[in-house]
């Protein structure tokens, strides 16, 4: 069992109980817990995770905060209030509905391109690691390929009908 699965197995029942007590169902608990896991994994990877409590308590805390956000409620106790202040949910965490067609367009841009771009922009891998992972002859050729993929994505976006309205 890998580390993510082990943490999932340990933390999800606690998060599920918390969401049940707040009036939520299993599907809601699972969706919110998955978002909490993603936030946790992103912060761990970027070195921005400062844990005052166990990973399980942190995950349950984020799951509850995400529930309150979906219900537009304020935290009702000090611990959660402290956590909500302390845990910042990334500003771009959720996709704006008007950008959904672009997201679909991006996913259609080709699996290899998307994986390469995600390795750089999401997983923060450097070009040497990317060249090794994706079998490019050098970091330079992986870099050129990354820019070609970005060019392809930008061109596909500009052909999407809703594109002009989504640009800030």
């Amino acid at each position: 069992m890998d580390l993510t699965t082990t943490l999932y197995r340990e933390a999800f029942p606690h998060a599920a109980r918390a969401i049940r007590r707040l009036g939520g169902d299993l599907d809601t608990a699972r969706d919110l817990f998955h978002d909490a896991m993603i936030i946790y994994l992103e912060k761990s990877r970027s070195g921005h995770l400062q844990l005052d409590s166990s990973p399980v308590a942190y995950l349950v805390g984020i799951t509850k905060i995400l529930w309150l956000k979906t219900k537009r409620q304020q935290p009702r106790n000090e611990t959660l209030d402290y956590l909500a202040h302390f845990i910042s949910i990334p500003e771009d965490f959720y996709t704006h509905p008007e950008e959904e067609p672009l997201l679909e367009q991006l996913k259609a841009a080709g699996e290899k391109c998307l994986q390469l771009l995600q390795a750089f922009y999401y997983e923060n891998m450097n070009m040497r690691e990317i060249a090794e992972t994706f079998d490019y002859s050098s970091p330079h050729s992986a870099t050129v390929q990354k820019y070609k993929c970005l060019e392809k994505v930008r061109k596909s976006f500009s052909k999407t009908p809703c594109y002009a309205e989504t640009i800030a």
Binding site: T4, T5, Y8, R9, F12, P13, A16, R17, R20, D25, L26, A29, R30, H34, D35, M37, I38, L41, D92, F93, T95, E99, L102, L103, L106, K107, L114, L117, Q118, Y121, Y122, E123, T143, V144, Y147, K148, L150, E151, V153, R154, F157, S158, T166, I167, A168
Partner: protein, 85 residues
């Protein structure tokens, strides 16, 4: 590299704050004077944001797979069932 790729590289350096201060000021002045460069920066900022969104969707699918796998384990399934039903 081709010229359009060099522009993408330059915009990326700007967005990832990898430009030296002087170069950044010069780039921002060019943005003010050149609407097409300003548009290119916004397009690329949006592309980078959506690449992260797509990566999160991939993570969500992976986590759903982990749930399905754990749900095969009778003790885990029973624990979850007892919470909701």
């Amino acid at each position: 590299m081709r010229k359009p790729l060099l522009e993408i590289q330059e915009v990326e350096h700007y967005l990832l704050e990898k430009m030296p201060a002087g170069e950044q000021l010069f780039f921002e002045a060019r943005m003010l004077a050149t609407p097409s460069l300003r548009a290119a920066v916004e397009e690329q900022r949006q592309a980078q944001r959506l690449i992260r969104q797509a990566a999160r969707d991939r993570q969500r699918a992976r986590l759903s797979g982990i749930y399905d796998q754990l749900a095969q384990d009778p003790s885990f399934a029973q624990t979850i069932h007892a919470i909701f039903y």
